[in-house]
């Protein structure tokens, strides 16, 4: 069998792509969040996981209790000065590649609490990929942020964060 016939016979059964796209597709559709609830937004984060909006449609229903098993940290709520080092520790414990969603006004900027007690934006201690506005954001907002993040992960290929 010549090479032309070979190509002809398998041509309609094979997809060609790059390794980066396959890896990105796999990572993007199985983003496991760390179970890291802080304040009001955590309740909406739980609501995102329940039947109404169902984050499982996007492959992220597996909220891991251990940061070692998770890819995504959803900073759901206000981060106090006392909590900041713990948040950073949890982030450091997560294996690469990892992503962060800053959920809500408090996590993103401090929100209405411009005072001594709160960290004025979680991006002061961890790199943030997606910010969600709202106080607290709706579950649909969190899903939207996850979809934005998935697009980004899929575009990043094998080596994210270069």
């Amino acid at each position: 069998m010549g090479i032309e016939e070979l190509v002809e016979s398998i041509g309609s059964h094979v997809l060609t792509t790059t390794l980066g796209k396959v890896v990105g597709w796999g990572r993007g559709n199985s983003v496991w969040p760390a179970q890291f609830g802080l304040a009001c937004c955590a309740i909406e984060m739980i609501a995102t996981a329940t039947a109404g909006v169902d984050i499982a449609r996007f492959g992220s229903e597996a909220m891991r209790a251990s940061p070692r098993q998770s890819d995504l940290m959803i900073v759901s709520g206000r981060v106090s000065q006392k909590m900041a080092p713990i948040l950073r520790t949890v982030y450091d414990q997560m294996p690469e590649p990892k992503w962060v969603i800053s959920m809500g006004a408090c996590a993103s900027t401090g929100g209405v609490f411009n005072n001594y007690a709160l960290l004025q934006g979680v991006d002061k201690i961890v790199p943030v990929d997606v910010y969600i506005p709202g106080c607290p954001p709706r579950p649909e907002d969190l899903l939207n942020a996850l979809m934005i993040l998935q697009e980004r992960i899929k575009a990043q290929g094998i080596l994210p964060r270069q």
Binding site: C40, I46, I86, F113, N115, Y116
Partner: protein, 406 residues
């Protein structure tokens, strides 16, 4: 944060009752079963708990200090966010305190709307409690059922106030807006459906052998201990003490509703669960009565120095424009004095102590957080139990860490 803060290393290594050594373990602050960012330092003898020390402050937000920087009407927004599972009840405590200082009475329709929102909030708060506690003790499906009804309540919140969780609906001088016809329709449907849903939860939990063995006899708190430790709400009533602020010190017209105070003589985690189930049934009863007697009329006090004039008046009346301008640049001032008002939230006595020095901002606002006080009973309940029972005990104490730390 210092390295040695709250650490009880002195006990580690001391001989235990079973031939082993005491071990000090850290629960939290990032732990999936502590209902937020609570940290507990636990001394264990084998698997038995010998000492529990809660370390709080991981969610300290400076809410009380923040209120001093905000005008009276702006403060409502911040009250939503301390006990984030019952925002309208927090609003109510603050609004009642400000109204008492100013000496105003809200119209009857506003009072009934306040009761409706309070009871809806109590239901949604108990639903979150039951969903998460069920999840922690292995009843995974409870979360799905409870959040289904909670979402219905949040949809109603959205219909009446435009926001799902932090409604800021109850404000000094009345409520944000009148109930829409669609809200009343939704409420009617909810009242019709909710008793059946509560039956559904009871089918899943009340006679469930796993749930019963995880909660019956666990976390005993005697009536005397509960009173001495200042516990309120389902924690106190679960210990058989008949004390409910809605009956004892009625506010917003609660004296005119016919409902029972839920109590249980079990004094354990199961008793507290039964109290919450009963409270949900009573809340539906109150909602039914409130909807039936909802009077017509205004929903705000007729005081242009306190609340903005209607939009249409701004185009015709110079006085209305002046009032509007003054309210939104300077706000109103409250006569000097101090007042303490307490309301019954899903967690217990939710108090608000307000000091005014006669200016347009509060001098001091202090919240008496039910969760904070209830947390004191934790050690008494957990002593000599197994470490796994800790989860049931924290669960039924139902502390909201935003409320504890403020």
């Amino acid at each position: 944060m210092s390295e040695t803060e709250g650490v009880t290393i002195t006990k580690t290594g001391a001989p235990g009752a079973f031939g082993g050594e005491l071990l000090t373990v850290n629960f939290g602050p990032h732990h999936p079963s502590t209902h937020g960012v609570l940290r507990l330092i636990v001394d264990l003898d084998g698997e038995q708990i010998r000492r529990v020390k809660p370390v709080i402050g991981y969610l300290h937000t400076g809410i009380e200090k923040q209120m001093e920087a905000l005008r009276w009407q702006q403060g409502v927004v911040v009250t939503d966010r301390h006990d984030y599972l019952s925002p309208p009840i927090n609003n109510l405590a603050y609004a009642l305190a400000v109204e008492r200082l100013m000496g105003v009475d809200v119209p009857p329709r506003a009072q009934v709307l306040r009761v409706i929102m309070s009871e809806l909030t109590r239901l949604s708060s108990h639903l979150v409690w039951m969903g998460t506690s069920g999840l922690e003790l292995g009843a995974m499906s409870m979360l799905m059922y409870c959040f289904r009804e909670r979402d219905t309540i949040l949809d109603m919140n959205e219909e009446i106030s435009g926001f799902r969780m932090h409604t800021s609906y109850i404000r000094p001088g009345g409520v944000y807006a009148d109930a829409t016809p669609r809200f009343l329709e939704m409420l009617e449907g909810f009242i019709y459906a909710m008793p059946g849903h509560i039956d559904e939860y009871e089918n899943l939990l009340t006679m469930n052998p796993i749930w019963r063995s995880r909660t019956i006899g666990i976390g005993r708190l005697s009536p005397d201990d509960a009173k001495v430790l200042g516990a309120t709400g389902p924690m106190l009533r679960g210990s058989g003490v008949d004390w409910d602020l809605r009956k004892a010190v009625p506010y917003s017209g609660y004296e005119s509703y016919d409902f029972e105070v839920a109590t249980s003589d079990d004094c354990d985690c199961y008793g507290r669960y039964l109290v919450r189930i009963k409270e949900m049934r009573e809340a539906v009863k109150i909602l039914r009565q409130a909807l039936d007697k909802l009077p017509d009329g205004p929903v705000n006090v007729d005081d242009r120095k306190m609340l903005p004039p209607p939009r249409e008046e701004l185009e015709t009346s110079m006085e209305a424009v002046i009032h509007h301008f003054k309210l939104f640049t300077e706000g109103y001032s409250v006569p000097p004095g101090d007042v303490y008002v307490a309301v019954e939230s899903g967690r217990g006595e939710n108090g608000c102590y307000v000091v005014s020095d006669g200016t347009h901002k509060p001098r001091r606002v202090k919240f008496r957080a039910a969760s904070f006080v209830n947390l004191q009973a934790l050690e008494r309940m957990a002593l000599n139990h197994m470490v796994a029972d800790m989860i049931a005990i924290i669960g039924t104490a139902d502390a909201v860490l935003g409320d504890v730390d403020r």
